[in-house]
Amino acid sequence: MKFAVVVFPGSNCDVDMYHAIKDELGEEVEYVWHDAESLDEFDAILLPGGFSYGDYLRSGAIARFANVMKAIRKAAEEGKPILGVCNGFQILLEAGLLPGAMRRNHSLTFICRSVALRVENNETMFTSMYEQGEVITIPIAHGEGNYYCDEKTLNQLIQNKQIVFRYEGENPNGSLEKIAGIMNEKGNVLGMMPHPERAVHELLGSTDGLKLFQSIVKYWREAHVVTA
């Protein structure tokens, strides 16, 4: 299985993401620059964290017009797994591939520490290796992770089980309904503020993020055994 790590000017978690896939997951991975025309050769697309285009105007606001976004949109329509972490999540929101928007953390401070997350839906291509309701430890590192959407959208998210992760216990950033990660209705685009790529080895303090990537591989293998 071949992963793409999309690199925008200002991405800074791209190397962590690459490392997680190559060395811990043991799958093929390549960096793809923000002006790439096509992502056809890849089976899954990863949008890493960072500060794309300096986060000028709003986080993700300028990145959403990068050339590669056309290819990401196409991959999303084709049903390929697309994971946006942190700034990657913010870009997916700005691009309208996921509903809602991000506000500054309610504390107005940048928060960088490990948090507890609850797996709210394990029937997804990103979470099938977790138990339903499993509490995992994953680091967060953001200043704008205070998720917001209107009531109608929130009801849809709840009804369609699109809320994939919630913060467990204390809500670190004021996020609506303690939302930490959501997916699209089709279930192939996931955005999350916590960094699973930073929790893939004992030396990093947690290996809980690895199962997310393993779930993607499992989904892909099963899909390709069926069609083979």
Partner: protein, 84 residues
């Protein structure tokens, strides 16, 4: 030429943590009269005349990039100026 002033603020129903912090700070400076503070962005655009309607142009820019209409409202003022 046009000088366009664009104001972007968080929507009324969206909590503004920055505005709240500033309001509290004003209160602690004894400006008890302050009921609400909303923090936003102010942008000044200089735009050349073209065959496209300036109003439509600015609205398009706001909708597409300058504001995120999920959480933000925008308004703008257009002033026609003589090109230098």
């Amino acid at each position: 030429m046009y000088k366009v002033k664009v104001y972007v603020t968080l929507r009324e129903n969206v909590l503004d943590p920055q505005g709240n912090a500033v309001k509290q700070s004003l209160h602690s400076l004894s400006y008890r009269e302050v009921k609400d503070v909303r923090i936003g962005k102010f942008m000044e655009l200089t735009i050349e005349k073209s065959e496209r309607s300036i109003d439509e142009l600015v609205r398009d820019m706001c909708e597409k990039l300058l504001a995120n209409t999920v959480i933000e409202d925008y308004r703008y003022e257009i002033e026609e100026v003589v090109a230098p």
